[in-house]
């Protein structure tokens, strides 16, 4: 999204990057207490390479795609953490504005991963959304 910079998680160190994913730092503490295996490290490195290939420049967005958002006409639920340090909540607002049938849920006290940090709440929203669409 032009004018709303994402954070630069490519320059963050591993602990910083992990901590910045979560509002609730106790989750980060739990993950940091576990040493990843060699295989997990390999997967993380591979993911990092893939993510750089697509997300490095422009950082985390493709300026050509915004103009197509209006084509997503299906009912859509957008869930965004209010304290997302990777992609600011303005992104969620943009999606709500551009998608003809979108509803935005902003989750309070929540970072980049609402489904991890507030799983019960997010599950409830998904269920409600699903039932609303089905009926």
């Amino acid at each position: 999204m032009k004018g709303v910079p994402c954070s630069d998680n490519f320059i963050w160190g591993p602990e910083e990057a992990l901590r910045n994913l979560y509002y609730d730092q106790s989750i980060a503490d739990q993950i940091l207490a576990v040493t990843p295996s060699e295989a997990q490290m390999d997967t993380m490195l591979k993911n990092r390479f893939a993510v750089a290939k697509f997300g490095w420049q422009p950082r985390w967005y493709n300026p050509d795609l915004e103009k197509w958002l209006h084509r997503i006409k299906l009912p859509t639920l957008v869930v965004w953490g209010d304290d997302d340090k990777i992609m600011p909540p303005e992104y969620g607002v943009l999606w709500q504005d551009r998608l003809p049938a979108a509803r935005l849920i902003r989750v309070k006290e929540c970072g980049h991963l609402p489904h991890v940090e507030h799983s019960a709440l997010v599950a409830q929203h998904v269920r409600d959304f699903w039932e609303g669409v089905a009926s």
């Binding site: 160190g13 591979k46 750089a52 290939k53 422009p58």
Partner: protein, 379 residues
């Protein structure tokens, strides 16, 4: 032996204590810490020192490119090279080098180098580099495509220098309907191409290929590592079916000479420490953005770093490991000769100003190097 006097042009007035509060003196160091008035003086003094090297008998004087950092103030090294051409008449001018992947149209690099070559009547040495990891943060260039862009830009530049134009070039990263250089380079077929590197096996294999045989300069490494990279280059050349010449192997090294070892350490030690601890300080994420090296090389780097540990480097440690040559003329000469016996390298890129080393000490260092060391390196 070919002798190059090389400068990084660090910003010496930097408030080191203030700079230490930031993640790195690269990319994110607030530029309010740069004072253009002091900066003007810095450019003048650094250029004076390089010009003086011609008088002392060096074969070449060298500059290089780095971006958004107090470590080196030459984001556009060709501007400095152009000034050096006007103030010298004999020495070669080595730009070590331009970072090819960072530009969106490499023809501009081909053109600027051709201009410098013509302006200097064939005194240019053209260095090609990928730029260090931090440069991918500061330029926004995607590190994932760094190798591809380097190779493609190289091919385009060499073709632009050597093939009759106009012609069209269609690559994966650069596409041009018209390639038609005005001016063409002065040297035929083109200026010598050198490859400064911190030594990746991929780069060694590429530079030593019989189609290229580019001199490979190892920078900022311990003597053991320098010898290993030189040996790798020689072995690779042999695999290709030829013997590498000494002129294909270079060593870029901080050097400080004084009449005794003690004095050299006392005068040059602190400046050396600032180079490695203050000006070069970068995080792993800055040095190794994803894709800058293969996953395998990155894993090697991670494990070697874990083995090395963190902490400040000391002048003694840097001297012991042969990362820098600091001492009496005899000590410095021994260090050079020892490497020569091991690898037969024939290009010495001497960093005679480094870190916060003052103009006065730089000048004294250059004088003693020229009078006491240089004569012994002339074959």
């Amino acid at each position: 032996m070919k002798l190059v006097s090389f400068h990084l042009m660090p910003y010496r007035p930097l408030d080191l204590e203030e700079a230490a509060k930031h993640r790195s003196p690269w990319v994110v160091l607030p530029n309010r810490l740069y004072d253009p008035v002091k900066g003007a003086e810095e450019y003048a003094r650094h250029i004076d020192a390089l010009v003086y090297a011609e008088q002392l008998g060096f074969d070449a004087i060298g500059v290089n490119e780095h971006h958004q950092t107090a470590y080196g103030l030459m984001p556009a090294p060709n501007l400095i090279a152009s000034a050096l051409i006007q103030r010298t008449s004999r020495v070669q001018i080595a730009v070590l080098g331009r970072a090819l992947p960072l530009v969106n149209n490499p023809i501009y690099i081909a053109e600027e180098f051709a201009m410098l070559d013509v302006m200097s009547k064939g005194r240019l040495i053209a260095g090609f580099v990928r730029g260090i990891g931090s440069e991918y943060h500061s330029s926004g260039t995607n590190p994932y495509f760094s190798h591809e862009r380097f190779h493609e830009a190289h091919d385009l530049i060499v073709r632009a220098w050597t093939e009759p134009g106009p012609f069209a070039f269609h690559g994966d990263h650069f596409s041009l309907q018209y390639v038609n250089l005005w001016p063409r380079p002065y040297q035929s077929p083109h200026p010598p191409i050198w490859i400064p590197s911190q030594g990746s096996s991929e780069t060694v294999a590429w530079a030593s290929h019989p189609d290229r045989r580019y001199p490979f300069l190892v920078t900022f490494s311990s003597a053991d590592l320098v010898a290993r990279y030189h040996t790798t280059y020689r072995e690779q050349a042999r695999k290709y079916g030829y013997d590498a010449a000494g002129g294909q192997l270079g060593w870029a090294c901080p050097i400080y000479v004084a009449d005794t070892d003690e004095r050299a350490r006392a005068e040059g030690g602190r400046a050396l420490e600032t180079l490695f601890n203050d000006f070069l300080r970068q995080t792993f994420e800055m040095l190794m953005p994803p894709g800058y090296t293969s996953i395998g090389s990155m894993k090697n780097f991670i494990s070697s770093r874990r083995a090395l540990g963190g902490g400040r480097m000391t002048a003694d440690g840097l001297i012991e490991s042969g990362t820098a040559l600091i001492g009496s003329p005899k000590t410095v000469l021994t260090g050079i000769e020892r490497m020569r016996e091991q690898t037969g390298f024939d290009i010495l890129v001497a960093l005679l100003q480094f870190g916060i080393l003052s103009d006065e000490l730089t000048r004294r260092n250059m004088d003693i190097f020229a009078s006491e060391v240089m004569p012994h390196l002339r074959d």
